[in-house]
């Protein structure tokens, strides 16, 4: 069973993991990826991110990624939760989880979903630093490479 959510509120990994297992009782392997707001130790550290998105497109873009993953590997369940709005350092941003009979599919499916999410889902991050400076985050070439590795 597939499930995609875009929300402001934080999510509880334990609840989500158990809901995933309930949806995939025959799973032999589950892979979960959680992305967090990483503190940096620069002179002017990041205190929070703000995530803008394109609401009419986001849900569809994520559902389409999940559908692609489920067509490519025999997945029993694949889920994505992505937060938007202001998120402080150390907090969770994204959860990707895949259940499958075997670990290889689970790892590949989860990695595919986060790699493709990072280059195709319409989210944009803005960094708020201690000094008060605010700047949009630039896309990374390494993310493009990781995503195109699946094509």
């Amino acid at each position: 069973m597939q499930c995609v959510r875009v929300q402001q509120e934080d999510f509880n990994v334990a609840d989500e993991y158990h809901a995933l297992l309930d949806a995939a009782p025959t799973a032999g392997g589950v892979v979960q990826f959680i992305g967090c707001v990483r503190p940096d130790y620069s002179e002017d550290p990041v205190q929070a991110l703000e995530l803008e998105h394109y609401p009419a497109m986001t849900q569809n873009a994520l559902e389409s990624l999940v559908a692609t993953a489920c067509a490519r590997w025999p997945l029993l369940a694949a889920r994505v939760i992505h937060r938007v709005g202001k998120i402080s350092v150390g907090e969770q941003i994204v959860w990707v989880a895949v259940a499958a009979a075997h670990r290889d599919e689970a790892f590949q499916g989860a990695r595919f979903l986060i790699d493709k999410l990072k280059t195709t889902a319409p989210f944009w991050k803005k960094e708020f630093r201690q000094s008060g400076s605010v700047a949009w985050v630039n896309a990374k070439a390494t993310d493009d490479q990781a995503a195109s590795g699946w094509d």
């Binding site: 992305g35 995530l51 803008e52 998105h53 394109y54 009419a56 497109m57 569809n60 873009a61 992505h82 941003i93 994204v94 986060i114 999410l117 990072k118 280059t119 195709t120 889902a121 319409p122 989210f123 944009w124 991050k125 803005k126 949009w136 985050v137 630039n138 896309a139």
Partner: protein
């Protein structure tokens, strides 16, 4: 009518999140045609589309610059995405 949306840096640098444009009467109208038209709105618009990488979606699906826009479409322009 075409609804044109702008997001993130692009929205901020243009100072515009949405435009409603008349659909041109003649011929096939592509994303490239629309971008050229938008660049004609002034230096701010020209530099935003020429000097930075801009992605585009028609009706919430990512498309290429050669894609054809139909009357009534929602066209969104935005910088490379940075979620996850």
């Amino acid at each position: 009518m075409i609804r044109v949306l702008f997001f993130a840096q692009l929205r901020e640098s243009l100072g515009c999140d949405e435009l409603n444009l008349d659909y041109p009467a003649a011929g096939s109208f592509t994303v490239e045609n629309l971008m050229k038209q938008l660049q004609g709105r002034g230096e701010l618009w020209r530099s935003a589309f020429v000097e930075t990488k801009v992605l585009v979606a028609i009706n919430q699906q990512m498309v290429k610059p050669q894609s054809v826009i139909s009357d009534g479409d929602e066209v969104a322009f935005f910088p490379p995405v940075t979620g996850g």
